[in-house]
Symmetry: C2
Subunit: 277 residues, 2 copies
C-alpha cells in the first residue's frame, strides 16, 4: 500500500497546483462536504487562489451546497471548471445532474477521477481541496495512489461510532503515507436557539482525545449550528458571512490552522516530481 | 440493471429466511445503522426470529452498537452467527476488529458478501435485516443482483443534502426492481433537554414530502434524541427499553409499520425460487 509501489504510476504533480488537500472521513454524514466547501471558500477569502474538486462521485453534494449547477465547457481537451464565490469547481454533479444515481463499479470511476485531476484547467492554485467520498474504498485508493497529496484532513463527529471510523481513515492515510494535517470535530455541540443552553447532541471532546491518542494534530471543533445546515441547503455556505460570533468564523479559523500546519510540515513534505522506474 | 439479466446468477432464496430487508441510504451518517439495529431488535421483541447482517464492510458499526465483538465459530463449512438481544448477527467487524481499515477494491468484496449471505448458519428467520453501506456502489450492486430482497427501507434526514442522495437511492432500487417499503426520516427534530423547546436542527418534513413526490410510502419520523446516540455508543440500543414516551418507542412503531407494508405488498412480492437457464 505504499504510494509508489513498483509497477504503479509515479505521483506526478498537477501543473500550477501548489497544495493538494484531501478532506476525508471514515463515516459519511459527519459534515465532510460542509467542511470542504467552507474551507475552500475560506482559503479564497484569505486571498489564496483555491479550487474544490468533488470526488464524492456517488453522492456529489458540492453543487447544491455551492449553489451552482451548470454543464462545464470544454476547450480542446481541457474542461473549464465552474467559478463560484471565488473558488474553481468541478463535480460529478455537474455532469450527471438530477436524481439519477451512478450505479458504477470501481474501475469505471478511475478514469473519471483522473479526468477531474488532470483534464480540468485548474490554472494556478495555492490550494486544491478534494472532497473525498467517505470510507476507504476504490475512489480513495485511486486518488491516493496517483495524486501527490500534501496532506489530509479527517472530519468526525464526537460520537464513538464516528470516531471508530475516523480512526480507520487515519490508519488508511498512514498506510498509504499521506501526511495527516489533523482531525476536525464537527457537530461538536449545539447551542439551543431558544434557551442558549449547550446540548452535546453527539457527545463532545472525542475528536481532540482521538487526535491525542493517534498522535495527529487537532484542528479544532465546529459547533452543530442550524445556520450551517441552512447555508449548505441554500447554496450559501456560512463562511461567506463569517464574522465574530457567527457560525462561519470557525471555518475561517480552520483555514488558518490548516495553513499553519502546512507551513510547520516544511517544504520536504510538499510533493515534488518523482520519477520511478 | 434488471435483477435477472441473462448471464447473471438467479436470485436463489436463502433457505429458512422468509423476508430479506435492505436498509439503505444515499448519504452516510443519517442513522442507517441505528435504524437497522433498532429495527432488528424491535422485530425480535415483537416475537419474530430476526437476523442482522452488517454489509457495511468499510465502516461496520454494528458490533459497537450491539455491544458485542467476538470471532464467530465455524462448524464445517458454516459460520455460526453471534447472538445478542435475541438477534442473530454477522459483521465484518467480527472478522476485522480494531482500527485497521479494509482497503479493498470492489471485486474482493463480492465473495465476502456471498459468504455472509449463504455461508452463515442463519437458521429459520422471519426477517433478515441487511445494513447496506451508504450510496450506490459495488456492495449494493452485488447484494441486489444476487439476493432476493423483499423490500428496501431508505433512511434520510430532513436536510436537502440528505434528501438529494435519498432520491438517488430510491431511483437505484427502482432501477434494479427492488420494492421500496418506504422512507424513514431520521434526526427529524430535537427536543431541547433544558427548555423542552423543539429545534429543527436539520429542517423537518422533507422525508414525508419526498416520499409523496416519489410515490413511495412514508414509514415515519424519528427524533434526533441524544438517548439514541448514547444507546448506540454504549452498545445498548434504545429500543431495548422502549416504552411510551421514550426514544425507543418510535423504532417499535417503525417495525410494526414495516410488517404492515410487507403484508400489504402481498405474497406475489415475496421471493420464490427462480430457475433461469
Amino acid at each position: 500500500m505504499s504510494p509508489n509501489q513498483p509497477g504503479q504510476p509515479p505521483k506526478l504533480p498537477i501543473p500550477g497546483v501548489k497544495n493538494l488537500i484531501a478532506v476525508g472521513s471514515g463515516k459519511g454524514g459527519v459534515g465532510k462536504t460542509t467542511v470542504a466547501v467552507n474551507l475552500a471558500i475560506g482559503l479564497a477569502k484569505l486571498g489564496h487562489p483555491t479550487g474544490l474538486m468533488d470526488a464524492d462521485v456517488y453522492g456529489p453534494n458540492v453543487p447544491l451546497m455551492m449553489g451552482i449547477n451548470r454543464t462545464p465547457m470544454a476547450y480542446g481537451e481541457r474542461i473549464q471548471p465552474l467559478d463560484q464565490y471565488g473558488v474553481k469547481l468541478m463535480s460529478m454533479g455537474f455532469l450527471n445532474p438530477g436524481d439519477k444515481p451512478l450505479v458504477w463499479r470501481g474501475p469505471m470511476l478511475h478514469s473519471v477521477i483522473q479526468q477531474f485531476l488532470r483534464g480540468v484547467d485548474w490554472g494556478d492554485l495555492d490550494y486544491l481541496v478534494i472532497d473525498l467520498p467517505p470510507g476507504t474504498g476504490d475512489v480513495q485508493l485511486t486518488l491516493i495512489q496517483t495524486a501527490p497529496i500534501t496532506g489530509a484532513i479527517v472530519v468526525t463527529t464526537p460520537s464513538d461510532v464516528s470516531l471508530e471510523d475516523a480512526r480507520k481513515a487515519v490508519h488508511m492515510f498512514h498506510q498509504v503515507k499521506v501526511p495527516i494535517l489533523g482531525i476536525v470535530e464537527n457537530m461538536s455541540y449545539l447551542i439551543c436557539p431558544q434557551c442558549n443552553e449547550r446540548i452535546d447532541v453527539f457527545s463532545h471532546g472525542g475528536g481532540r482525545r482521538t487526535a491525542g491518542e493517534m498522535k495527529v494534530h487537532f484542528l479544532g471543533e465546529l459547533p452543530l449550528n442550524p445556520d450551517v445546515r441552512v447555508g449548505g441547503d441554500s447554496g450559501k455556505p456560512v463562511v461567506l458571512t463569517a464574522g465574530p460570533g457567527t457560525a462561519g468564523e470557525g471555518f475561517l479559523e480552520l483555514a488558518r490552522n490548516m495553513m499553519r500546519r502546512i507551513e510547520e510540515m516544511g517544504p520536504q513534505q510538499v510533493p515534488s516530481i518523482e520519477i520511478t522506474d
